[in-house]
Structures are given as structure tokens and as C-alpha cells.
């Protein structure tokens, strides 16, 4: 097939055009390819659990995590620049606010207790919040920012504030290859930071690694936690073989006879889910009082007394809750004290003091 001059010129033109295109595409990538973040999975987790869930469309990167951390503490995300995520999720308090109900920017009181944030990448069903209303961490991060009883902002204003900020456009460019800030990238970065919040260094973890010993009260408390005829807590809250210390499932643990808050039932519309809430991890209880979805219990003594004598019957109460007609299994004073001592061994001081998680 002989080539004439015109054809050659056409080919050269096409070739140049391609070079040009490839050049444009690779330029940004070359300069701004973010560095993969090396998530340090604790040995106990990799031994006992399936690997953390990192979405393929939002891999962890050094730049993404750094940006996410900055955004997590960023008050510009609220309408009047007074609140950040950390206002209600303070690292020193295992990312809670230690209030019964959280206060929004307009001094609106919510109806739920702020949840602690750790080991979130191991929530394999990806249902977040007490009632499971948010699917995935990325989607969850959208809600507080625009919620009128929380940060009460609108995305247009938030992204404009970040876009006009001296450093954010560059940080987004480094993390995501574009300096054009939008809500999707904001929540992606925050979710990346949240996935790095790992708590696995409590006294009990050290005990499992033969680096600490438990007192006899703590040991006895662990036995009560595991004994089916005593606490029987492990069926929902895990064990040494499930170091998340939660099943990440939804149960009615018997708090109420009638429900003012339907919990999961309000989300699924299924009355069989009424009164069900997500099982919280029992790690870090030393830092997360008050307890339960509505923060009704100020102390662990109250929580344990509830499980021992305060169970309320209802059609959706979990069948694991026993002897409901007597309010529960009626633990002895000694057993209650020991159970509390055990629960506190799961508090991770390294986690709440980790410089990686402070502002």
C-alpha cells in the first residue's frame, strides 16, 4: 500500500496529537501521584480477623490521610465556623464528646450519644450510626456537615471556603490530582483518615501478647463475660478471638419496653427491627461515658446493673437476654465489680494519646 504525501501528513498529525494527549495525561500523574499509605494492621487483628475493608475507589494515601486529618479538625466545615468533626469526636475521649447528647452549632441538642471512632475499617457490613442509617464511611461523612442539628452547613459554601483557603487547593491536588474541591473529595479524605484510627493496645491486648498480667478480679470478670449462665456478653461483644469486641450487628438488648427511638426499625421500616441498635465495641469504655445510644447510663456500674437486673421485655428483645422476668441473671456484688474491672482492661491509653490522631 503506497503512501502519498497527504496521507503521511495526516498520520504525522495524528501521531503528534496522541503524543500531546498522553503528555497532558501523564503530567499531573507524574508530579502528583500520591504515596500509598501503609496501614499498620496490628498482629492480633491480622491473625484473628479478615483484612480491613478499603474501597477500591478510595485507597489510602499519605496525602489523602493527611488531608483527611486536617479536614476532621476543620471548623470551616460548619456553617458558622465553630464546629469540626472533632468537636463531638475528640481524640482524647476515644473520639466521643462525653456528653449525653451532642450539641450542634445552633445549640441544638441531638437525640443520640456521639459514637466513638476506631477500628471502623473492620465494620464489614459498612452500616454506620446507631441505627445503621449510613452505608459506608464516605456516605456517613456527608451527614453531619449538612445536618441542621449538627454542623448545619451547605456544601456550596463549605467547598467555596475550602477553595479560597491558602493551603487546601494544594492539599487536594496532592491527594486527588485536582485542585478543584468538591464534596465527594472532602468525604473521601475524611474517610481515609478515619480508617487509620486503630485501637489495639489496651492492657487486655498486652495480656494476650504476654506483655501484661491481669489481676484476679479482671480475670474473673472476663470469665463472667464469657460464661453463658453469667454475663453471656461474648455472643454479641466478641472475645479474645474477635478483638473488635463487637459483632457490628443490630440488637435490642432490652433497654426499653416501649420505644421512643425505633433505631434500625425506622431505617428499614420493618417492625421486627424496632428498638435495635448497633452493638458498640466495649473497647475504650474508660473514655466514652455516658453509655448506650441515648447516653442514659452515666457509669459502667449502671450498665452492669441494667444487664443484671434491669432488662425490659418487648417483642424484639434479643433471645440472648435471659431471665427477663427477673430483669436478668442477677449477678452478685462481687461478680459485678469483677466484670467492671475486666471491661476497663480494654481501654487503650496509647490510642487516646497517639500524636498521629491529635490536632
Amino acid at each position: 500500500m503506497p503512501l502519498d504525501g497527504k496521507k503521511i501528513r495526516n498520520y504525522i498529525f495524528l501521531f503528534m496529537f496522541f503524543l500531546f494527549l498522553m503528555n497532558c495525561a501523564s503530567k499531573e500523574e507524574e508530579i502528583y501521584t500520591p504515596i500509598a499509605y501503609n496501614l499498620k494492621v496490628p498482629a492480633l487483628f491480622s491473625e484473628k480477623l479478615i483484612g480491613p475493608l478499603i474501597p477500591v475507589n478510595n485507597p489510602l494515601t499519605e496525602e489523602g490521610v493527611t488531608l483527611g486529618k486536617k479536614l476532621f479538625f476543620e471548623k470551616l466545615l460548619s456553617r458558622d465556623n465553630t464546629q469540626s468533626c472533632a468537636t463531638c469526636h475528640s481524640p482524647k475521649k476515644a473520639f466521643t464528646d462525653q456528653l449525653q447528647f451532642s450539641l450542634g452549632i445552633n445549640n441544638n441538642l441531638g437525640t443520640r450519644n456521639a459514637m466513638p471512632l476506631f477500628n471502623l475499617a473492620w465494620n464489614f457490613s459498612e452500616r454506620f450510626s446507631w441505627d445503621g442509617q449510613d452505608f459506608s464511611l464516605e456516605n456517613q461523612a456527608f451527614t453531619p456537615i449538612t445536618n441542621p442539628i449538627e454542623m448545619d452547613a451547605n456544601w456550596q459554601e463549605v467547598t467555596a471556603k475550602l477553595q479560597n483557603h491558602p493551603t487546601y487547593p494544594d492539599l487536594f491536588l496532592r491527594a486527588f490530582g485536582t485542585a478543584k474541591i468538591d464534596s465527594t473529595l472532602v468525604v473521601k479524605a475524611i474517610a481515609q483518615f478515619e480508617r487509620t484510627l486503630i485501637s489495639a493496645n489496651s492492657k487486655f491486648d498486652k495480656y494476650l501478647r504476654d506483655e501484661a498480667t491481669l489481676t484476679s478480679a479482671e480475670k474473673n470478670g472476663f470469665t463472667i463475660f464469657m460464661e453463658e449462665e453469667k454475663g453471656d456478653c461474648f455472643h454479641c461483644h466478641g472475645s479474645e478471638n474477635n478483638p473488635l469486641w463487637t459483632d457490628n450487628e443490630f440488637h435490642n438488648n432490652g433497654l426499653d419496653r416501649n420505644f421512643t427511638d425505633l433505631g434500625l426499625g425506622a431505617i428499614t421500616g420493618d417492625p421486627r427491627d424496632n428498638g435495635k441498635f448497633k452493638t458498640p465495641s466495649i473497647r475504650n469504655l474508660a473514655f466514652t461515658a455516658p453509655y448506650m445510644h441515648d447516653g442514659r447510663f452515666a457509669t459502667l456500674e449502671e450498665v452492669i446493673e441494667f444487664y443484671s437486673t434491669g432488662l425490659q421485655p418487648s417483642s424484639t428483645i434479643d433471645p440472648l437476654m435471659k431471665q427477663i422476668n427477673r430483669g436478668g441473671v442477677n449477678l452478685s456484688t462481687q461478680e459485678k465489680a469483677d466484670l467492671k474491672a475486666f471491661l476497663l482492661t480494654l481501654s487503650d491509653f496509647d490510642f487516646v494519646n497517639s500524636p498521629a490522631f491529635q490536632e
Binding site: M1, K48, L49, T223, S239, N241, D318, P319, L320
Partner: protein, 248 residues
């Protein structure tokens, strides 16, 4: 132009014949095991959960709120294997085993774990969903968690936790005595010609019926440390599985 077209054709040709190479050596196909559940013949799905709609052989009215169990060492796979069936979550209800030869097979599996496979903490998937047995009961894993409510003799609703594990006698806590209460299920001979779906039925009512009529007023919760209850479960379990429909 012609060259390009023929090149294109060659590429298509090469990429399409890849899968066909072995097509005619081993006829047969994939075998899909489908786990279904019924109450004396009436199908049960998650939609039937949390309703006091079942009556057991003892005449107790009951509901199902959780039903999950582990099947191990299906003999169609040559390595050790396990499958957690969870009716409430609709997971593990179907299991496909590819590339089975055309053959007359004898389908067998085990309900629960044989002692040698029941090592504490070794299965990450089962740890993640809290299927473990506490250490003071010898560790390892549940065979089944079957939870629900029943109407007790005093007419009040109460929970039951029909949890099957390896039986353990704790009379001397420092010297636990075990009995492997997992059991083999033999579904008999099945002819595999091509892609085959085999239904494995569990009649949930059988857990309460045969040979031991189960009285929920006596045996409801705290059955894990109850050696005798575990033996009864093992005996009643022998008749819960049966072969259902086979579709080729």
C-alpha cells in the same frame, strides 16, 4: 487496510479460543449446593423470622430469630472446606463447585467440625462473625446458633438459644472431658451429567422431634455447657438433613 482487517481477525480468533481448549475432554459441569429450610415441609425464609408461628413436637409455640450453622468437609472438594449458612442474613445459602466430572457421586458432608478441625481461633471468617466457643468450654467453634422465642408454660415469652457445640463435661474444670458431637450427613448417590443443582433441605422441626421430644420449658438457654443437651442435639440432628430436588 486489508492487513489491518486480517490482523484484527487473528486477534479475535486467538482471544476467543482460549476457553474452548478443554471443552470436550471432561463433560460434566459445576455442582451447586442449595441449602433450603422448612418446618415439616413448609418453606422457611428470613421473612418468617421473629413470629411465633411454629409449633414443635412438644406443642410449644416458637419463633426463629437467628439460624446459622457450619457445614464442613463437603466431599466434592478434596481439601478441607467449610460453609457458614446464615438464613437470617441470607448468606452461604448456595455454594458452587466448578468442574465436576460426569460421574455417580455419593454426596457427604459434616454438620459442625470434627475435633481435628475444631481448633480455637484459626478461622478468621468465623472469628469475625463471633462464631467462637469460649475457652472454658474447650474453645473452637459453634456448630449452630439457633435462637428464638417460645411461649413458656406460664404463658410468657422467653428466649431459647439452641447452640450446638462439641459436648463438654466440666465436672472437673481442670480436666474437661469432650465428646465430638458433629456428625456426618450422607445424602446418597447422585448422578452428575452436566451443570447440576442439588437441594439440601433442613427440616428445622426435626431438631425438636426425633428421637428426643424437646421440651423448651426445660432446655432453653445455657445449653453450651450442658453435656447431655449436646448429646440430645446430636441425636436429633441426624434426621434434619435430606436430599431435595436435583436439577440438571
Amino acid at each position: 487496510m486489508k492487513k489491518i482487517v486480517s490482523l484484527f481477525l487473528i486477534v479475535i480468533l486467538f482471544s476467543s479460543c482460549k476457553d474452548d481448549v478443554e471443552c470436550c475432554v471432561n463433560p460434566g459441569g459445576s455442582v451447586t449446593l442449595k441449602f433450603t429450610h422448612n418446618w415439616n415441609g413448609t418453606p422457611i425464609t428470613e421473612a418468617d423470622f421473629n413470629q411465633l408461628k411454629f409449633t414443635n413436637a412438644n406443642g410449644d409455640q416458637l419463633s426463629i430469630e437467628k439460624l446459622r450453622y457450619v457445614i464442613t468437609n463437603i466431599n466434592l472438594l478434596d481439601t478441607k472446606n467449610r460453609n457458614l449458612v446464615d438464613l437470617g442474613q441470607n448468606t452461604g445459602l448456595s455454594l458452587t463447585i466448578p468442574n465436576q466430572k460426569a460421574d455417580l457421586i455419593n454426596l457427604k458432608f459434616r454438620f459442625g467440625f470434627k475435633d481435628e478441625d475444631n481448633t480455637d481461633g484459626i478461622y478468621q471468617d468465623l472469628n469475625t462473625v463471633n462464631f467462637n466457643v469460649p475457652n472454658m468450654l474447650g474453645g473452637g467453634y459453634h456448630y449452630m446458633q439457633f435462637d428464638g422465642k417460645f411461649v413458656a408454660a406460664n404463658n410468657q415469652e422467653a428466649g431459647f438459644n439452641y447452640h450446638a457445640i462439641r459436648a463438654v463435661n466440666r465436672t472437673d474444670p481442670n480436666n474437661l472431658v469432650f465428646k465430638d458431637t458433629s456428625f456426618e450427613v450422607d445424602l446418597g448417590e447422585i448422578e452428575i451429567i452436566n451443570d447440576t443443582t442439588i437441594e439440601i433441605k433442613m427440616n428445622v422441626a426435626e431438631w425438636f422431634k426425633n428421637p428426643n421430644t424437646w421440651n423448651l420449658n426445660e432446655l432453653n438457654t445455657v445449653l453450651m455447657p450442658n453435656f447431655d443437651a449436646q448429646i440430645l442435639m446430636n441425636e436429633n440432628g441426624q434426621s434434619v438433613f435430606s436430599l431435595g430436588e436435583i436439577t440438571q
